[in-house]
């Protein structure tokens, strides 16, 4: 139900950055989603088209969705981040150590939330500084972070799953105000803030400029290096938030959390219409990308199809989406 709600905001956002072609591109995403839903209804009927199932899809989309919104900023700014899954794992582990949990007992569960978000942001800052000031290409810098953040998570957790004992934490994030799961509400909030930040603030405008032509941005007086650090820090923050959401869904912190998130997030961003080369990006498109992938998973699961078949379908969707994107880019020039 929320999925169809967001589609009504399309016309107003479609014209931004991409001109009239933005409408066409988002239209493609709407059609893809509708087709998936039709397949779902035909094959599973009411089991698919129920409010409960819609909420299941959104709950499934929420964690990777929050990471993908952050990823949209980094890719629009001309970068890439492979370390998001590892950062989620490290944040979740750090926030659930016995040390942190005993502090949480004294000062409230908010301590756990803060530690996750701060650890995530800090990892992002390290990525950003290495890339902007160390001049290491984003692929390599974040590959290094991928390896070391997950390694550090394993060391801290001693490869054990850490159970969350704080009842207040699980109660708060497990709540369903107005029947909507808390993590779906968080996902909606992050999406809204992300959309606003990218389209309505100077920060967003600088992101487009830095991704579109960093030299022109620099010569227009924009602090390109500093902005790059902000972008990776922002993605780190969303990873921290995603870690909190994952902790509430699983009531654990673990060094195996967030495996494969980097590819899922990049795929969602790219099929949403954000250019991998930077300079053009859309939060709404990313939202669609995430929901299309999770709906696909849902339809496959309802029909008892294997995850391997899902993976194949995912790959096909990515290729088709990128081919379409290139077609549109060619027509433009």
């Amino acid at each position: 139900m929320s999925a169809t709600d967001t589609s009504t905001t399309l016309p107003s956002t479609a014209g931004r950055g991409g001109g009239s072609l933005g409408v066409a591109r988002n239209l493609g995403l709407v059609i893809a989603l509708v087709l998936l839903c039709v397949v779902g209804i035909i094959t599973s009927g009411d089991r698919f088209a129920s409010t409960d199932n819609m909420l299941t899809i959104l709950r499934l989309a929420a964690v990777i969705g929050v990471v993908s919104i952050g990823m949209t900023f980094v890719i629009t700014g001309g970068g890439i981040d492979l370390s998001v899954g590892a950062i989620v794992a490290l944040s979740s582990v750090w926030a659930t150590t016995t040390g942190t949990q005993s502090m949480a007992d004294d000062f409230g569960w908010i301590v756990m939330v803060f530690s996750a978000v701060i650890v995530g942001t800090a990892c992002g800052v390290v990525n950003g500084v290495l890339i902007a000031y160390g001049k290491i290409v984003p692929f390599i810098a974040t590959l290094a972070m991928l390896a070391s953040a997950r390694g550090l998570a394993e060391i801290i957790a001693d490869r054990k799953t850490q159970i969350i004992t704080d009842q207040g934490f699980t109660d708060f994030f497990g709540a369903e105000p107005l029947g909507i799961p808390m993590i779906v509400i968080i996902f909606a909030l992050v999406t809204l803030v992300g959309w606003f930040l990218l389209n309505r603030t100077t920060f967003g405008r600088r992101t487009f400029a830095v991704g579109g032509n960093p030299e022109a941005a620099r010569l227009a007086g924009i602090k390109v290096q500093r902005h790059t650090v902000y972008l990776y820090a922002l993605l780190g923050t969303t990873c921290g938030i995603a870690a909190v959401m994952l902790m509430s869904r699983t009531t654990t912190g673990s060094s195996t959390h967030g495996l494969g998130y980097e590819l899922d997030a990049i795929a969602a961003v790219v099929i949403g219409g954000t250019l991998l080369s930077g300079g053009r990006g859309t939060v709404i498109g990313t939202l669609f990308g995430v929901i299309i992938f999770t709906t696909l998973t849902n339809v496959f699961t309802l029909n008892n199809l294997s995850t391997s078949a899902q993976a194949v379908a995912k790959g096909v969707i990515i290729v088709v989406a990128v081919l379409l994107q290139q077609r549109i880019a060619d027509r433009k020039t």
Partner: protein, 517 residues
Amino acid sequence: MTSITAMPTPPLLEMRGIVKEFPGVRALDGVDLVVRPGEVHCLLGQNGAGKSTLIKVLSGAHAVDDGSILWNGEPISFADPQAALAAGVATIYQELDLIDGLSVADNIFLGHEKARGGITRDADMNRSARELLKTLGHPEIRPTREVGSLSSAGKQIVSMARALSRRAQIIVMDEPSAVLDPDEVDGLFRVIGDLRSSGAAIIYISHRLEEIRRIGDRLTVLKDGKTVASDLPARDTSTADLIKLMTGATVSSIFPRRTTGLPEVRPLLSVAAIGRDQEFDDVSFDVRPGEIIGLAGLVGAGRSEIIETIFGARKAARGTVTVDGKRLRNGSVDSAVESGLGLCPEERKSQGLILDDAVYRNISLASLDRYARYGISSEGSERRAAHAAARSVDVRPDDPDRIIRTLSGGNQQKVVLARWLLRSCKVLLLDEPTRGVDVGARAEIYALIRELADSGVALVIVSSDIDEVLGLSDRVLVIADGRVVHDGPSDGIDASGVLDRILAEHDTTTDQKGDAA
């Protein structure tokens, strides 16, 4: 075939009326080029005159929009690089197109490897490579050596061996001497001489006139995408004539004159003895509000480097820049912009514009903070203000949402001007403000520059077009070899006076080089 006599041989290549258009700009607008076998044909022209585009047409990288190409008297079209290579045109690009990780022999035979059934015959290739390198007088380069470990000169030899391996009849060399030291240039010229006497023709592109005099037979001069002179003898055409042809010594009345006197006030911009190693040194000047200072000189004299250093895009090794009494932080563009400086860069597309973004967003790029409160932009007021700025410089079409890429060069330049107009900058630095701009739009840009000056902006203009510098500026600084060789009011000197100053400097440095050798 070893005939290099004065008897005119039939042309090997004859290009007539070549036209090549890109969105918004006509890069080639009727170019003629005739190359005979066994000659070194020099191609001269300013940056942006169309030399690179012409080379790409010749090597099959660009398809022509109009014009005819005859090869040995037969019509031909270089549809793609393979077709050009098959016909016998090999190009040695400025940024050498070699693959560093492969061996010398692999690079020479790249794309036409000696192989049987898909299996390369390395011994065979190495043997042939050794022979080619020997022909070029460089037997010391081992065919098995990795290309990445060679010097620039060595790489150039490998590129030439590749051209020979293709049995090229025309070898195009794009500024081959730019990366070489004087000894290596001598070596290069020996090789060129050998190639010529073996009957191949060379198209040689260089900014260095003394080289053209040493090695060239005939020359063709391009300006603004047109051939302005052809079939000139390379050795006997005077430097002054060449520079006049390249820069266009057509004095016209399109330069709007100053209508008011200059106020006697404190300078807005003070440049004090700035310098950068190997680039320029001891450059000082003041610019008062409303004043236009012109920097004249040939390409490579250090003009762009000076202007970029003032703007903080390069870090000065010595000296200071002061704006309105406040000293700028060295090497910091944002401090310069903060203090009221603006730059219209030389490479508009790569340095100035976000090509796939809208006109209004490119204009407001330097003033985003002004149209935002607490970081939240006010899209409406930003777009309105940017649109007003676009209108004040008459960007056509009058559509603030249009994508920059689709505008002509002149209108793109107006967008960059509008950006700094919107920011109401105090000092504007213009690097080649009319490059790639057609004549009509040029007059409009001149009028805009004059308006800016009349409104109290201090301007510094760099241009290869000497008449443009003289026509616009109040005072002119002539730069040669990174030094100011003349500083005076622009009405006290004419184009030939500027050329004399440059040539005087040129001669003394050439003499010094001669003495040192």
